[in-house]
Symmetry: C2
Subunit: 324 residues, 2 copies
């Protein structure tokens, strides 16, 4: 900056102003500084800038898994919108474990982010203490609660499970199998589905809880296992589209007709959901909208502007296709 200033015939401070507050610098000097920057190949140092201004222009984002399409698509949009605001997003994987989240957050906090994005609303007490202690704005996503740490943008997983059960009931299904990944939110959807379906039909729902992440493989093996255990026909509620696709493939391998013998409902409305054979009935959550809303909410907190609503429910929608 010093060198740029020398070349432009101004002081270092004026260069700083030209970069951050161009309106406070005369047009002539602005031009000369611009040229000097071009000539010297000057690259601003955000590290020094962050230290001096106490604004890192950095957001820390914590998601359970980068390879999981649901989260990666959300974070993609979140990053995009944040980039528009002049922010970089440092993403980290927590793997659904509170301890991991805690330990990662601790090191991330030393980067002095201007904002934090966390997935879900269940965090350890120590985690909350660290955040509250830092005074950094937070947005919790992918779920909603009346008492967020700071703000939240998401939807009700219980309601989603409930609506799925009602949908299945209205479609005429009276027997059901629920296949769910082991994470807390998926389980909440499954439980709500089972409760509601049970109330409506008086029939107990068969349940399969998977360890770890959902996959095509687990979808296939789960249906196989259920059939072995006596499941004959009905609707299969899956905690993700990937599991649902696995169920479809396994059913077809066994020459079962979909949706006549076995109907399938997924969750997530992933890109492929409309193109399985038959096309998958699923629950759609607008992840792009979620990303941009989360970014907006976080930014208004960072800018200390008034926020109408600390919590935003972006809802969900059941997309009826051919599999159920």
């Amino acid at each position: 900056m010093e060198a740029v200033g020398r070349l432009a015939g101004v002081s270092q401070v004026t260069v700083s102003r030209a970069l951050n507050n161009p309106s406070k610098v005369s047009a002539k000097t602005l031009e000369r500084i611009k040229n000097a920057i071009e000539l010297t190949g000057y690259v601003p140092n955000m590290v020094a800038g962050a230290l001096a201004s106490k604004r890192s222009h950095l957001i820390v984002a914590l998601i359970p898994s980068i390879t999981n399409f649901a989260y990666s698509e959300f974070i993609k949009h979140f990053i995009q919108v944040m980039r528009g605001y002049g922010y970089h997003v440092l993403t980290a994987e927590t793997g659904l474990s509170q301890e991991e989240e805690e330990s990662i957050l601790a090191t991330m906090l030393s980067r002095r982010p201007d904002g934090i994005m966390m997935t879900g609303i269940n965090h350890s007490a120590k985690c909350k203490r660290m955040i509250l202690g830092s005074g950094i704005p937070v947005v919790e996503i992918w779920d909603i609660t009346a008492s967020p740490i700071d703000t939240c943008v998401g939807f009700s997983h219980a309601k989603s499970g409930e609506e799925t059960a009602k949908f299945a009931y209205e479609k005429g299904y009276r027997h059901a199998l629920a296949i769910s990944a082991g994470d807390e939110r998926a389980l909440r959807r499954k439980d709500a589905f089972c409760d509601t379906f049970n109330k409506l039909t008086q029939n107990q729902v068969d349940e399969i809880c998977l360890p770890g992440q959902a996959s095509l493989e687990l979808g296939r093996s789960s249906l196989a296992q259920a059939i072995e255990n006596g499941f004959k026909s009905g609707v299969v509620m899956c905690s993700s589209d990937l599991l649902a696709h696995g169920v479809i493939i396994e059913a077809q391998t066994r020459h079962l007709k979909i949706p006549q013998d076995i109907a399938v409902i997924g969750f997530g409305n992933q890109n492929f959901a409309a193109f399985t054979a038959p096309a998958l009935t699923t629950v759609k959550v607008d992840r792009a909208y979620l990303g941009s809303q989360a970014a907006k909410v976080l930014m208004t907190r960072i800018d200390q502007k008034p926020l109408e609503n600390k919590c935003i429910d972006i809802g969900f929608e059941i997309v009826a296709r051919d599999s159920a």
Copy 2:
């Protein structure tokens, strides 16, 4: 740090040393400092640390797409290994465009990363100039070249296409269709496949080049289109497993037998590849290994240690399953 020092009865510098060079501090004071840190809830400031030491402990990683499983799985491992080294990874999406890469790199450089990871070996001249000018170590991944910007870890895409063609020929296929996404590396695989297959069989390979990213949908529509244009039977080489899965689904919808009527070969060996029906023959690239190797190479450059090999070929492997 000052406050921690006061509480522990030492100077601020000693606290710094206790944190970065504990061996140079006596056990007693170390203990007192540890307690003081606990009591004050002190959180180190890496921004200040980075400015003073000129080490940001930050790596910038540029990938074409976060939602693409191939890249997200790689980056997941890269981040994990880097975390073990005490580094954070700032990931950004370039979307296969050199201009995007350039503009993103420019802003990222102002974070003063200690290392840079880029996808592919084709970058704009300005991009290379910026990197070379900054003097920051770079590792280019997912491809190989004899003349990397700095270092590279990957495999030969041309060779992969070639081997795929040889495999198909040896399996007895004499007619082929190649479906490829529009990105440069996928096209290189496709071209090599077509050339080699052509030489072996004297038969021209049908080709479909897709705009944009691969998807189940495009796999299905591509096969449909090829059949309409007269493709009757043979092997279908796809630039990704997702496309291949789409081809399988479309073929089954049309009651074509796999691999008898239509054989399918994918690329990537994604998690689901072994669990499609029939299981997908594909090209496996060890993305976890790629991630850890890239991290290792970059770290030895950052630590200015000698490097045996600037370029590492991690190879690939054709995994024969039931689809071809």
